[in-house]
Assembly symmetry: C2
Homo-oligomer: 353 residues x 2
């Protein structure tokens, strides 16, 4: 699909294609997926090409989230490929809908790009994004393109709830267990490799690169959490400790986690002596972190096809910090909270919805 699409893309820069050419490129890439006759496309009344997109509403709760990726802040074009960038820009947004247990439906894509960008690269970016969009049955219904000295990508996803329930940050309560899907630290391990740590095995290298650049948002998993009665979740973007702290702050509770319980992929534990730190503070794994009573978590384990690991509990114990990390003997492990704050110390992303 990518090759076929690229075959018709002439070798030129964006400044030669122009913005209406770019809009057509996006429209054509989207059109290949629109004729499936399935929702959400069948509910779209006005797609790309008018002042606003329009679709027929359903009766569910509506969800909306937005996220921006800024060149040299969130990504470096010397390491990430355009194909990976298109995937990741959509994936991180889908992850926020996943963290609400919602169904993503519509996306608006805002692209600010320098004129020197090769059209072939933009085409790879768009096709990769459309590929992921199709995987989750999302219609890219509109957006905006503009010239810019640096690449800035903003995605907005609009979705709905499956029933009348949502996964929120503010509903964790005392006595609940804390659990995560999948493995943590793989994305941060990938970043360490990209920054220079030697990994000789190409399969491991691919695994780590993919973990960092092509995360798979846990959309179905979020919906299953709701079906099984979970009320509280967040996606792990800032890092386990930082994101658990967001839950604790919103829910006005404290949490204690066991460092030896935090699931790390064998490839990461075998190759990264600092794997516990990566798992605690690395972020960008886009796994789901959630709290629920023991019985609910038991049902979740049965219902999900991915690992589900209990790593701690919401506690009334007097502890030094809102989120406290201990070892198997109960000794408190100091940590660097991670979850970089923008403006203060550079990279990473933080959102307010």
């Amino acid at each position: 699909m990518l090759n076929k699409a690229n075959a018709i893309i002439p070798k030129m820069r964006l400044s030669e294609l122009g913005e209406f050419g770019l809009i057509n490129l996006i429209r054509n890439s989207s059109a290949r997926y629109e004729n499936s006759g399935r929702t959400p496309w069948q509910e779209v009344l006005v797609g790309i090409g008018d002042d606003a997109a329009a679709w027929q509403s359903d009766n569910h709760i509506q969800l909306a989230t937005t996220d921006t990726l800024v060149q040299d802040v969130h990504f470096d074009l010397d390491t990430i490929s355009w194909e990976e960038l298109g995937w990741k820009a959509l994936a991180v947004n889908l992850s926020d809908i996943a963290a609400m247990g919602g169904i993503p439906k519509y996306a608006l894509l805002s692209l600010a790009l320098p004129g020197e960008v090769e059209v072939e690269d933009i085409s790879k970016f768009i096709n990769s994004m459309m590929h992921l969009a199709r995987e989750f049955e999302i219609a890219i219904v509109g957006g905006n393109v503009a010239a810019s000295p640096n690449v800035v990508i903003t995605l907005t996803i609009i979705g709905s709830s499956k029933g009348q329930n949502l996964l929120k940050r503010s509903t964790a309560s005392f006595g609940e267990q804390i659990a995560v899907t999948g493995y943590l630290g793989s994305s941060a391990a990938g970043l360490e490799m990209l920054k220079g740590k030697a990994i000789s095995n190409p399969e491991i290298s691919n695994f780590l690169r993919r973990a960092h650049f092509k995360p798979m948002p846990k959309v179905k998993e979020g919906q299953i959490l709701i079906e099984q009665g979970v009320k509280t979740a967040i996606d792990i973007s800032d890092g386990l400790v930082a994101d658990l702290d967001h839950i604790c702050e919103s829910s006005k509770v404290n949490a204690k986690i066991r460092i030896d319980k935090v699931p790390v992929h064998p490839v990461v534990s075998a190759n990264f002596p600092n794997h516990q730190e990566l798992a605690l503070c690395g972020g960008e794994d886009y796994e789901l972190l959630f709290t629920a009573d023991e019985a609910t978590i038991g049902r979740v384990k049965q219902a999900l096809n991915c690992p589900v690991t209990v790593i701690g509990a919401i506690t009334k114990e007097k502890l030094p910090t809102r989120v406290t990390v201990v070892d198997s003997k109960g000794n408190i492990i100091p940590y660097n909270k991670g979850g970089w704050e923008h403006f203060k110390n550079g990279s990473s992303r933080v959102k307010f919805a």
Copy 2:
């Protein structure tokens, strides 16, 4: 309101406030408007502070639009104030909902900012945006903040239709009249002044500055167009000729307009010898351009509180271009289409929804 809010903002840069401080600043500014007990706030289930915003859906058609303003492409911080920037960023997005005849309801604000920005300036930006948001009863339900070498502002507005009808670009038909609300060219005249054209009268100078930096989106007017039976409209962002060309392209029709009918504010015609060119090609007036039969336009004139001027017609005549401009004697007037294309020739904005 602005002064009161500013009084509590300490003198510091964004790098000292940090991103969570910035999010709180936005949240607090929004909170002052949330307690009105009116829609859309009463429908908001999850606002700022979770993974995504959530609200209870209604049964209408949903609308969504997004727009990005890039520093030194769309605005220059040497001329626009932060207060004006906050207004304009929201206004241009509201104008797209106005051009669909919709009701704007929710906004997501994505801010990419350098750490050196003064918190006081950002506070002015946010308060000004909130002021306009309140005027149109819009809830800012979420967004994203990130560090960036330059200022990039992306707004997404989600709204709904009033009934089951929308104003589209694709429904113009032969024999219809072409009309506009308000006056054209004032914003472009303001830009000429800001670029150096001397205007000595401070009242005129304020009028022109306001026309360029603080446009008032024609939201109510768009809704009234629908009530009166209009089906086709666009907002004038790229320029009269360029935006009329968008309608003609989407509707597969041709248009002829009379240059002497195009409404220009007396202040602009008195001070700008090139006022016709500004009105045809200047753009950014955010007035509504629409087509309808004579009787419908008659009703619209009665229903609207602003000037409504018929400037031409959708025609079957053989003419040299899709949009043809003539003088009172029918002589064809050549024009430079305007409506800058991004990447090819710099500034202005173009969207694909």
